[in-house]
């Protein structure tokens, strides 16, 4: 399946992915209204150090430790996308303890978590971070060898 992958050497450290992510998941139609004077809680985060930068978001692992460890059943895999049912989530943060990539964060309420769902639950349709990246430092691609083989066989 298609996932968000990182081309580290192309990342400018501009953080636009964080803004597009927050906007896409805000449910607000104007980017200005979505972002102005609000805390930025993107589901993708840019790491920067010593001239290097790259954006990190959920890997949508095939063996997801967050889903397996979820104490409530709020995290599940739907068509390969790891999604959270915020209504079930109580914000215990066992998934934050489990995720090897550090890609799950508390949500605004503090009573649930928030994570990248590849924009499947918002109006964007496909990852807004990738669409908004000016330098293809993140791409939305199928690099899954076995899946590709399966599709080719079909």
């Amino acid at each position: 399946m298609k996932r968000v992958y990182v081309n580290e050497k192309w990342c400018l450290g501009c953080h636009l992915c964080e803004y597009y992510c927050t906007f896409a998941n805000s449910g607000v139609s104007s980017m200005v209204n979505a972002l102005k004077d609000k805390p930025l809680r993107p589901r993708i985060r840019v790491e920067e150090h010593d001239g290097i930068s790259f954006a990190v978001s959920c890997r949508h692992c095939k063996e997801p430790l967050c889903v397996k460890g979820c104490i409530t059943g709020a995290l599940s895999v739907k068509n390969g996308v790891i999604t959270v049912d915020s209504n079930k989530c109580v914000g215990c943060y066992t998934c934050i303890l489990s995720c090897p990539y550090g890609c799950i964060s508390p949500d605004d309420s503090g009573h649930a978590i928030s994570k990248c769902e590849l924009c499947t639950k918002n109006a964007c349709g496909e990852p807004a971070c990738v669409k908004g990246c000016p330098n293809q430092a993140i791409v939305y691609e199928d690099r899954d060898v076995t899946d590709t083989n399966k599709e080719a066989a079909v």
Partner: protein
Amino acid sequence: MSRFVIIGNSAAGIGCAEGIRTVDKDSEIIIISNEPHHTYSRPLISYLLCGMTDEQRMKYRPDSFYKDNNITAMLGCTVTAVDPAAHTVSLDSGEKIKYDKLMYACGSSPFVPPMKGLDTVKNKFTFMSLDDARALDKALSPDSRVLVIGAGLIGMKCVEGIADKVKSITVVDMADRVLPSVLDADGAKLVQSAVEKHGVKFLLGDSAKELFPDKAVLNSGAEVPFDILVVAVGVRPNISLLKDAGADCNRGILTDDTMKTSLDDVYAAGDCTESFDITVKNSRILALLPNAYMQGENAGINMAGVSRSYNKAIPMNAMGMFGYHMITAGTYEGDSFCESDGTDYKKLFFKDDRLMGYIMIGDVSRAGIYTSLIREQTPLSSIDFELIKHHPQLMAFEKTERSAKLSESH
């Protein structure tokens, strides 16, 4: 077609069923549980009491789970014996059920130590199951004075669950600090004072010498009046059925790394088993929901005929008290690095070029990156430890490793 019988309807049992179904969509699966409820999340009972969830939302899997996975759920049935030679389990109804492979996931039970005068106390509760939570909730009133014996994970979550429903709560523990199994002394102080702000009183390093119907007399001589008593001193693994059937056990049931017991075709997972803790290189009980699920899942995959090992068990825990969160993992051995500003607290433990364990309180962002260093036994000399010890981050890994993490499918 095989018949898989799973005793236990919680994390390990459900993990087992899901593990089987990743390999085998057709064989018969029967889940037997002595509780009459649809599978639910045990750790959510405290959230249930404080209204952060309800009985519908705390279901561990959707209502359609058994149907979707073609599982026969025999709920409210108690298994009375396992006969490994005949490959049968006996039920309290007298019925015998044959199995080809058996999963034993019977969890643990609250341990109630012998305490003088305990039998004179009318309103006494343990706090482990949905029925425990319902019974406690029914007994509570705004005038209740509650005594909780045990400041461990169960006792503390119980405190959080009932804090806004009762007049007063006193917590007594023999240990000199709260959450002694997961926190060090300094971290425990922070959590204790955060909980005290909610009116909870702690009497630590003390224990109940004698109980009376309406008060406890402690070893120190202090007296604690109460209307409701909650005993939360610990849990004991439920091993008796398999032990009686001849399975090798220490404190918990022993398994190999496929989760098979010493009995043919019998597997076990969850709180009733011991796990090989890679941080101390020893077999011990790791009564944690994620561990139970992953053991169960691994067992199910093996039961269905695919060989796979589960060999990355570590102690780990995430919990919050009134919005103040803590995440901990591993073993607190070796040199340490500590950062604290009085609210956010972090301590890392490292030895022999490995991260052994950590405690994060308050700011717990990206804690899982530390967990993965422990789980994968990553040599600290292969990463920028100076960088990562201040903030968990992928930047601390070598470029090729970063690329493997972020540019390949996982």
